[in-house]
Symmetry: C2
Subunit: 472 residues, 2 copies
């Protein structure tokens, strides 16, 4: 212990792609957690918290080629475990383990782990928060799906965001389209993945990728003609009127779902930010129906047009996955959900200058002063502090035996404490304490130098001044 020589050999840092959260960032994050939790609970959700690692076999075969990004624990004897990659597979595992639960509306806010190349400025980390809301259960078509999208609206409304787009599509429409164009079964997912890049790449490059993957130029062009459309009801009209697509059974089923969805979104007053975007494909294999992704101008609202969406990436995404639970239990439970990218949302809030939360939130600083022979009045400061704590007033005082008054003011100021409670020996003997709202510069303010109040009224007098002091 305490061998200072040894310390010099230390590589003093956090692991690559991870970070500490403190100060204003942590305060901002907590506010965000509170906002989303309030919305989730308003819709009747309860929380599920799962272990940070799962048995390795639970995760395997769920993430396609991204499986290589999974963190494994070292084999130290016993079970083989991996850090969770998302919160969806743990939910499916839980549902499969609890067969008595046939329906579940749950939220989970927790960190997930991916051995990706970190890009901190873009908010891409190896350890990052996900914030998931899912509805599990066999229900009538598209009703829970509509509620999930309503929740997206509620969350961004609560955050005060105006400019965002919920891009949505349907896996059945997408797959039906590919089939109608003549894409062979085994090429559907690779071609789907090429189409998904249309928000980042020009059509010519996407077409090139399709051809490299084995598609003819004609088929690629046909797909290109279809998937570059986006809109609202007009997309449904287009799908219903196109002579080829309107005959495809998968597309037909998808259209039925989208018609229901739009009607339900209207009932929820949640249609305004929606864009039916036939190019949206989403990477994960497990989606089976509606898929969606939320994009925003993010930190560069001055840039107009397509570019604005590129730098930021999606801030929330999800969809319907009806078969995942069945992969574990053999008894499928249909699910639909959304995952909010907390770290990205925070990056954007910060870039917008919204990180103005006070990291520290103390109401009162108890201080003392005196002339020659000043004892420091530590006991008295402690007694007053404990009275304030007992009245639920957030309070600090100097941990020095004999602090100087300017020192104490400086400490209170640098912590942004709005009220000073100042003890003097004479005043205390007379049963009085001085209360001072910090930072009054107006000379005409009668309380500029503080106001002397009866000790017995101290708590009430502090409460009276707290809203003003906190700028409320």
């Amino acid at each position: 212990m305490g061998k200072d020589d040894k310390s010099k050999n230390f590589n003093l840092k956090v692991p690559k792609g991870t970070r500490d959260w403190t100060g204003e960032d942590a305060a901002l994050r907590d506010r965000l957690f509170e906002t989303v939790t309030t919305v989730f609970k308003r819709h009747g959700a309860t929380t599920l918290d799962t272990p940070v690692f799962e048995l390795k076999e639970i995760l395997s075969g769920k993430y396609g080629e991204d499986s290589k990004l999974i963190y494994d624990l070292q084999d130290q004897g016993g079970e083989l475990c991996s850090l969770r990659y998302d919160l969806t597979v743990p939910l499916a595992r839980w549902l499969a383990m609890n067969p008595s639960v046939q329906s579940f509306k749950r939220y989970q806010i927790a960190k997930v782990y991916r051995r990706d190349q970190p890009a901190m400025t873009k908010g891409r980390m190896r350890e990052f928060y996900q914030c998931d809301f899912d509805i599990a259960g066999a229900y009538d078509a598209m009703i829970p799906d509509a509620e999930v999208l309503k929740i997206v609206n509620d969350v961004f409304k609560a955050l005060g965001w105006e400019a965002y787009t919920i891009k949505m599509n349907h896996r059945k429409i997408l797959d039906g389209m590919f089939k109608a164009a003549g894409v062979k079964e085994d090429l559907i997912r690779p071609i789907s993945s090429a189409v998904d890049k249309l928000d980042k790449l020009p059509w010519a490059e996407v077409k090139q990728e399709m051809q490299t993957k084995g598609l003819s130029a004609e088929i690629a062009d046909q797909i290109g003609e279809w998937v570059q459309r986006k809109g609202g009801d007009d997309i449904i009209e287009f799908l219903k009127s196109d002579p080829v697509l309107s005959q495809n059974e998968d597309v037909k089923k998808g259209i039925q779902d989208m018609e229901l969805l739009f009607a339900y979104l209207d009932a929820f007053d949640a249609r305004s930010h929606v864009s039916f975007d036939l190019s949206l494909a989403r990477g994960l294999d497990y989606y089976t129906g509606l898929i969606y992704e939320v994009v925003t101008e993010g930190s560069a609202p001055q840039i107009k047009g397509k570019q604005q969406e590129v730098g930021v990436g999606s801030v929330a995404a999800g969809g319907r996955y009806d078969n995942l639970v069945g992969m574990f239990s053999g008894k499928p439970i249909p699910c639909v959900g959304i995952s909010f990218g907390i770290d990205r949302i925070i990056s954007i809030l910060k870039a917008r200058g919204e990180s103005t939360q006070r990291a520290k939130d103390v109401d009162a600083f108890v201080m003392a002063f005196g002339g020659k022979g000043f004892t420091g009045m530590l006991t008295e400061r402690m007694q007053v502090a404990q009275e304030l704590w007992a009245s639920d007033i957030k309070t600090e005082f100097s941990y020095k035996l004999k602090p100087k008054l300017p020192q104490q003011f400086k400490q209170a100021e640098s912590a942004g404490v709005p009220l000073a409670v100042i003890l003097g020996e004479e005043e205390l003997k007379a049963g009085k304490v001085k209360i001072k709202v910090m930072g009054i510069t107006d000379e005409s303010n009668p309380e500029k130098d503080g106001v002397l109040v009866d000790r017995k009224d101290m708590v009430a007098e502090i409460r009276k001044r707290l809203p003003a002091a906190n700028g409320v």
Copy 2:
């Protein structure tokens, strides 16, 4: 996807020593987090959140022989990392990495990882929550220490606990005692660890362990005579009057600290649960001054005497560790802190029958009914639900197109929803909805069958009935 045969090979469980949190347990846990966070913030603390894994070298050499319990991540290329074992070492690492921070009052609530033998009934898990509060900084003696103990009082008071004991001791007194008795330097920690078992083992066995470790029977008896004392000011009097101990420099320094501490605890009105227990030693190497441990009767309040403390173990523990930050940076920052064992506290709350939190917390269930040709009124139910959500009323409705009224009542009842909002076609045409407080059995209650209100007054009428419905 969806290959049901495959699912039969799955070992459907969570890793050994881990668990899922949901339902009432999760609600109880959240209440507990809220309680401790409120107390911590009242004392001016801010949060620090660190990565779940640290570089392996950060953790090594900090936990003595318990280092074998550390989980390592597999070497997948890149850095070698380990899951955090506690929240103290990450705090010290953070302080060392941020040399501009010379003082810090922080809390952290997070899971830690130990490859221990799980004992679930005792609340000993491999993944479990710790809830830490620490004060870092060079201050006048014992002032932050006293505030940490005040916080212990505040937390258990907020939980409504009466019967608990804060056992405390001082490493300097303990070590001075061992030296005064003639224990050699290299035997001090092993003998200290034997003494620490006095709360679990009878004196004869502890003495036996001491002798096995190389102590003479005389020295062991001398130590036994000293360390089996506990009390308050009388222990200080004993230490000051004992001819041998009162001459030992370490003991003298410890007495000075304890005298200050008791005076400060009096100022904080926080003395009542304190027991100065000369047998308390604590396992961890890094403590340098005051140490403490909180014990309670726990789940077996009917058992009197020593036995009651054995089964439960401590529910909170901590102490002063002045050299840990210096191990990383070479520049020590003195620290004192406490760690609350959330899982154990929850085990006790549950055993006391306090797990009566509603896991689900919904205010209103919107339902509809109709006669022949009933459409289900899904759009109308959605519209009403969205009005209630917009007014921050927690609301659910059936995800069925045409649910039967008894089904809807059953769903509301089983979720413990206190209010039903019932839509009928005729009523809605007349601009009315029915509000019904669930579970009224009193025939004379005029609202037994619900009350018809104007649609425009719906939100106000619901709000009026919510406190009663929630049993407030």
